[in-house]
């Protein structure tokens, strides 16, 4: 009997980026990079665990935009092209390094093997349908797949239009059902954003549990007894699990977190910025430099990029194993320290962005692989569990209402509401109110009106994605984030004006919008009623 439990949660999400109007589009790489470095490697790890009889337990969000991109024919086709180019470049690099730069020859051979295997798993093992891979693990009882807001809309700032909050939740649940064949039990609230009372929308959608930042439980009213180490139940009957900061810091912290180890791969030194453009060829569309995924250096230490040393895969794997052992040891200590004072085994909940594992921390999937194996084979103090499994064992929870909370800086909304991005909220707010107005006004729309109404809902949802405000704040691809917000609001506004008779409703325009923004083909605008 374990003394306590550990519940790892990987939140996998990317905004819906799909541009059929361009032959290639730089921001689609977000998805391709995440597939290559995170999602497929994770599937490979989970497959190995299942094959070897490791009783792992993992909870993963597959956000609706991510699921939609995984099942989109155009993006899958473009991903094949992306993988083929990677393999071709790795082959060229093997020849080049053998001839000119032996320091990197081994790592180029590693990359060729890796890319070839990623392509094999994606194409041959799963027939380009990665959703099936996750379904397999869910059906095996090891993986709990949860949903998220329909487009990762930040719900606390949407509360002026409750119908918009409800729609984000209801559409997500319907989409999950459509692609994963059953209803989700849990939801990852976008940005862990919760406002008291929004648990009502989760209950209405049949959801049963979610996650919040630590202070969502420690500051809940009334005060829970066990802090973050036990779930609480909200007045609407939703079980909330709080993030454990200790285990989070071990992975996230820039100062003391594992990913900063000297032997791990250096994220910022990519051949896409270093080899000649004409040599890199078609992997750089229009000759514009970008990360291509071949990174030959390790973190090395506190040195400049020019002083980084070559990456040694074996050393990095050794560190991943060592860090997995350290993480496990710390969870054991944590559980043993708290168990005597609790009426039930302590539960440590560790949520992370899934893309941290693999994309940012290249050895992250290996770390998880080692960790689950060590946890299974080497000890019995702490065992992995999913939230529903924990609740089945320990169903009695304290009842409390979490306060407004997010997992953003300082715990509230400043990341998504600050002078760099606050201009979006008047527009999002009006568009949401107008959508409700349209849904109430059009009881019996004509076929064209129906298409326009559904498309208006898509444009609103796409504009609401919290990624745009986040990007405006972090300053990474601000131009694109602004463009997306403006485009979706402008398209929505055209549809609203056309549906309310201010301008002509033209079928070619509706068709064009449907072609560009094809998320949620089964959407029903009446969800906004």
């Amino acid at each position: 009997m374990p003394q306590g439990y550990w519940s790892p949660v990987l939140h996998a999400h990317l905004p819906y980026v799909r541009h059929p109007e361009y032959p290639e589009f730089l921001e689609e790489d977000w998805f391709f990079e995440a597939l290559t470095e995170t999602y497929v490697p994770l599937v490979r790890v989970l497959d190995g665990l299942l094959r070897d009889g490791v009783d792992y337990r993992l909870t993963m969000t597959l956000s609706p935009p991510l699921l939609a991109m995984m099942s989109d024919g155009l993006l899958v086709e473009r991903y094949h092209r992306y993988l083929d180019r990677l393999v071709t470049l790795a082959e060229k690099e093997i020849s080049r390094t053998a001839r000119e730069d032996q320091r990197f020859h081994d790592v180029t051979r590693f990359y060729l093997g890796e890319f070839t295997d990623i392509r094999r798993v994606f194409r041959e093992v799963y027939g380009s349908n990665l959703i099936q891979a996750f379904r397999n693990h869910r059906d095996a009882g090891k993986l709990e797949i949860i949903t998220c807001g329909a487009t990762h809309g930040f719900l606390p700032l949407m509360d002026t239009v409750p119908e918009a909050v409800r729609a984000q939740v209801q559409i997500a649940v319907g989409h999950y059902r459509e692609l994963l064949g059953r209803d989700p039990a849990g939801i990852w609230l976008p940005e862990c954003g919760y406002l008291p009372g929004q648990d009502r929308f989760l209950r209405e959608a049949g959801l049963r549990f979610s996650f919040i930042e630590s202070h969502g439980v420690t500051d809940a009213h009334p005060r829970p007894s066990h802090g973050v180490l036990a779930p609480i139940i909200s007045p609407e009957g939703i079980a909330f699990f709080a993030r454990d900061m200790e285990s989070s810091r071990q992975v996230w912290s820039a100062e003391s977190g594992y990913p900063g180890d000297n032997d791990y791969r250096e994220f910022y030194k990519d051949v896409g910025w270093e080899l000649p453009v004409d040599y890199l060829g078609e992997i750089l569309p229009d000759g514009m430099r970008k990360n291509v995924g071949l990174k030959y250096y390790r973190v090395t230490g506190k040195v400049g990029l020019q002083d980084k040393q070559p990456y040694v895969r074996e050393w990095a794997l050794g560190k991943a194993a060592s860090h997995a052992g350290n993480f496990l040891e710390n969870r054991q200590r944590q559980v043993l320290a708290h168990a005597p004072r609790m009426s039930q085994p302590p539960l440590v909940v560790s949520p992370y962005d899934a893309e941290l594992f693999g994309h940012w921390w290249y050895e992250g999937p290996d770390f998880l692989n080692f960790l689950f194996r060590k946890m299974h084979f080497d000890q019995d103090v702490v065992k992995p569990v999913t939230p529903p499994q924990f609740l089945d064992m320990h169903p009695d929870c304290e009842v409390a209402q979490p306060p407004f909370c997010t997992w953003g800086a300082r715990g509230y909304a400043e990341v998504w509401l600050n002078p760099g991005n606050d201009w979006i909220y008047p527009h999002l707010d009006v568009a949401a109110e107008r959508m409700v107005e349209l849904a109430r006004r059009f009881e019996w729309p004509s076929p064209l009106e129906r298409r326009a109404l559904d498309q208006a809902a898509r444009e609103l949802l796409l504009a609401q994605s919290s990624d745009w405000a986040f990007i405006m704040k972090t300053g990474t691809t601000v131009e694109y984030a602004k463009k997306r917000t403006r485009d979706h609001v402008a398209r929505f506004t055209y549809l609203y004006r056309a549906l309310t008779g201010e301008t002509m409703l033209e079928e070619p325009i509706v068709r064009d919008f449907e072609w560009r923004d094809n998320l949620f083909p089964q959407i029903d605008y009446r969800v906004y009623k």
């Binding site: 990317l14 000119e100 730069d101 209950r203 049963r208 500051d219 009213h221 009334p222 005060r223 829970p224 139940i233 009957g237 939703i238 900061m245 820039a254 594992y258 990913p259 250096e266 994220f267 030194k269 270093e274 080899l275 970008k290 090395t300 040195v303 990029l305 020019q306 040694v312 074996e314 050393w315 050794g318 194993a321 060592s322 860090h323 941290l356 994309h359 194996r373 080497d378 009695d396 929870c397 009842v399 409390a400 953003g408 300082r410 509230y412 909304a413 606050d422 909220y425 527009h427 707010d429 109110e433 107008r434 409700v436 006004r441 972090t474 300053g475 485009d487 402008a490 398209r491 055209y494």
Partner: protein
């Protein structure tokens, strides 16, 4: 596994052993050595010296551009931002470590300016209705945004003349649910949103948008939704009720929820005396409540993008 000339044999062996998937307890208890902070190029000590070009495709010196801002440690204790009411939040914006790392999934490198497809549909700059909405940014700050019907100024111009219409200023009046007044803010010309300081503690607020004439006369235009700022820190009341998750899963609100008393709000704070400048009537009803500038009767003119339908 390829041997490395400068590699540590122990590390290589540890990797091989671990890769077998049967890591031993001995290996797992090794405490990692202190780790160097993962550095962004911006944090490096000096620019890269030019490397001699060894071949036509040799890897060149690092791009000296900074791909991301310097890291800051997440602070668990929220701190009010300084800078007064106006445009709070412009200073000292910080990201948590998670957010800085998370931003890496969206192209972390600086890119040259992009040329996107021309915008074909008009992005609305204004919606031409009287409306104001209030959002909670954190326990210390609220955010109000609004829109004004251009006919408000036209009406003033007809009624009072050009000079009065030009000098009249939009004004925000913050009220809490106890009728306390958070003060009036006369807004600069062209402002479309404003950050308002909240009193610490769990408390409900509304804001009223109005227009102040040079004579001091105030006319209400619209009233916002109600919001509540969160209490910070643990609740003074200890949880006593427990509920079964199995029962909660039936799909109805918990019966036990009725036993949770609504959280008491912070004590009323009345900063302004009755009739003093900045005093406003307490909020009248839930939801937004637009008011015409020229016809002070509440609700006499539709406001908000779709308030007619929402009501």
């Amino acid at each position: 596994m390829a041997k490395q000339a400068n590699g540590s044999p122990d590390s290589v062996r540890a990797g091989a052993r671990a890769a077998s998937g049967r890591g031993t307890t001995g290996a797992s208890t090794a405490t990692p050595t202190p780790r160097a902070r993962r550095r962004s190029p911006a944090a490096t000590s000096s620019p890269a010296p030019a490397e001699p070009k060894k071949s036509s495709v040799a890897i060149r010196a690092a791009n000296p551009k900074s791909p991301r801002p310097p890291r800051q440690t997440k602070s668990s204790a929220p701190e009010p931002e300084t800078g007064g009411t106006a445009q709070a939040g412009q200073g000292a914006l910080s990201l948590s470590e998670e957010e800085q790392i998370g931003s890496a999934k969206y192209l972390p490198r600086d890119l040259p300016p992009r040329v996107f497809e021309e915008e074909r549909f008009i992005f609305p700059e204004t919606y031409g209705v009287n409306r104001v909405r209030l959002l909670v940014k954190d326990p210390h700050w609220l955010f109000a945004h609004w829109d004004v019907d251009p006919r408000v100024r036209e009406g003033l111009r007809r009624e009072k003349g050009e000079r009065i219409a030009v000098l009249a200023r939009l004004t925000l009046r913050l009220t809490d649910d106890h009728g306390g007044i958070g003060g009036a803010t006369v807004l600069p010309e062209g402002a479309r949103s404003w950050y308002l300081r909240a009193v610490p503690g769990h408390r409900s607020y509304r804001v009223e948008l109005g227009i102040t004439l040079p004579s001091g006369e105030y006319r209400s235009l619209a009233r916002s939704n109600a919001v509540a700022t969160p209490r910070t820190g643990p609740s003074p009341e200890k949880a006593r009720r427990r509920a079964s998750y199995r029962l909660a899963a039936k799909g109805a609100p918990l019966a036990a929820a009725a036993d949770i008393a609504p959280e008491p709000q912070a004590a009323p704070r009345r900063r302004a005396a009755k009739g003093a400048p900045g005093t406003a009537p307490a909020a009248r009803a839930a939801g937004t409540e637009p008011v015409s500038a020229n016809e002070p009767a509440p609700g006499s003119e539709p406001g908000g993008a779709s308030d007619l339908f929402r009501r």
